[in-house]
């Protein structure tokens, strides 16, 4: 059983570091208010960041495991196809996830 003081200190450190990392760029941005670089980064970063997050999720699909990644890859295909078809983010996410869950739990367990 873990010691309370240790857990409280560890959690406080982790929370403080997380908040500082989230707050730091806003302070930096205030210092660089009229910088064209910040404007350009603001324009390009959102698409770059979501594409990196998507690549991260896709790369963590385990193709050597039980289902050989088939549920997840099918889920990606369903998500993209639905989004191409209806351009409705919620519908695409729900159908893609449903396909993945059904395959992972009942069809390819």
């Amino acid at each position: 059983m873990a010691d309370g003081t240790y857990i409280a200190t560890a959690l406080a450190a982790a929370v403080a570091i997380t908040f500082a990392l989230r707050a730091a760029p806003f302070a930096l941005k205030a210092a660089l208010r009229d910088s064209g670089l910040v404007t350009d980064i603001g324009r390009w970063m959102p698409l770059g960041a979501v594409s990196i997050l998507a690549a991260y999720c896709l790369s963590s699909i385990d193709v050597s495991g039980a289902g050989h990644g088939i549920p997840e890859l099918t889920g990606v295909a369903v998500t993209v196809a639905t989004h191409w078809w209806r351009r409705n983010a919620v519908l695409s996410i729900v159908l893609g996830t449903a396909a993945c869950i059904v395959l992972a739990n009942w069809l390819l367990p």
């Binding site: 240790y6 760029p25 698409l47 990196i52 991260y56 993945c100």
Partner: protein
């Protein structure tokens, strides 16, 4: 949370909440399900159940919380916990540069928005139509994510390894979310260069440092944007 000054009364509040629920309710639901998984993980490490909602509510940083549980259970030194948190969450350094904090009015609402700036909040809010971004919309989006995650952790910690924890594939929601946001982000501006730079940064990071892929990819991508900025400026100057 009633102290958030930005949340008003009346019907506009209600319609903003409903609009946000319609747009991101599915992501809230998925964070709730993932939160249950986190709560189950906490109790399975012989840590007290209430630690799950406490960590989720105070840190609100999914991936590092999963790592933190293993480290707390193994009683690793605080310095190791601090270093891991710093490395895993360093990618947040790149979010604030483009997050529309100027759309959030009021000191408390701004502070909360920075505190609750997780990957999902950044991705959803920067991908939204800028015209719809108000203090209330942004606050509701983040409060919903935060409460879903902490609420799920509470239920998971209390209920333990039953119910949804046996269902595989729930975390696929986040994969689908980021795929959809990439699709929409590209469609909005047809900015092929950004997409290629992002994909290249991700591929290189996966090759050279798969364990810290997100951080390395964000650094490479930001350096590439710096080079792109200089090249663009040189071209327009000359």
């Amino acid at each position: 949370m009633t102290s958030i000054g930005a949340i008003p009364t009346g019907t506009r509040k209600r319609s903003d909440f409903l609009a946000v629920t319609r747009d991101v309710g599915v992501v809230w639901a998925s964070l709730f399900a993932l939160g249950i998984g986190f709560g189950v993980l906490v109790t399975s490490h012989d840590l007290p159940w209430w630690l799950a909602p406490v960590i989720s509510a105070t840190m609100f940083a999914g991936s590092v919380e999963f790592l933190l549980i293993g480290m707390l259970a193994a009683a690793v030194p605080i310095a190791a916990i601090a270093t891991t948190t710093f490395l895993v969450n360093s990618r947040h350094l790149f979010y604030g540069l483009s997050f529309p904090l100027d759309r959030v009015k009021g000191r408390i609402a701004k502070a909360y928005s920075i505190f609750a700036l997780c990957d999902e909040a950044y991705a959803i809010i920067t991908s939204s139509d800028p015209a719809t971004l108000t203090t209330r919309r942004i606050s509701w989006t983040q409060l919903g994510l935060h409460f879903s995650w902490a609420g799920g952790a509470l239920i998971g910690g209390l209920v333990g390894a039953t119910m949804l924890s046996g269902v595989k594939g729930l975390d696929f929601v986040l994969t689908a979310l980021f795929v959809v946001l990439t699709f929409d982000g590209y469609r909005a501006h047809r900015d092929r260069t950004t997409l290629i730079l992002g994909a290249a940064a991700a591929a290189i990071a996966l090759l050279i440092a798969p364990e810290s892929m997100l951080l390395i990819a964000m650094i490479l991508f930001t350096v590439a944007l710096g080079v792109r900025h200089r090249t663009n400026r040189r071209n327009t100057d000359g």
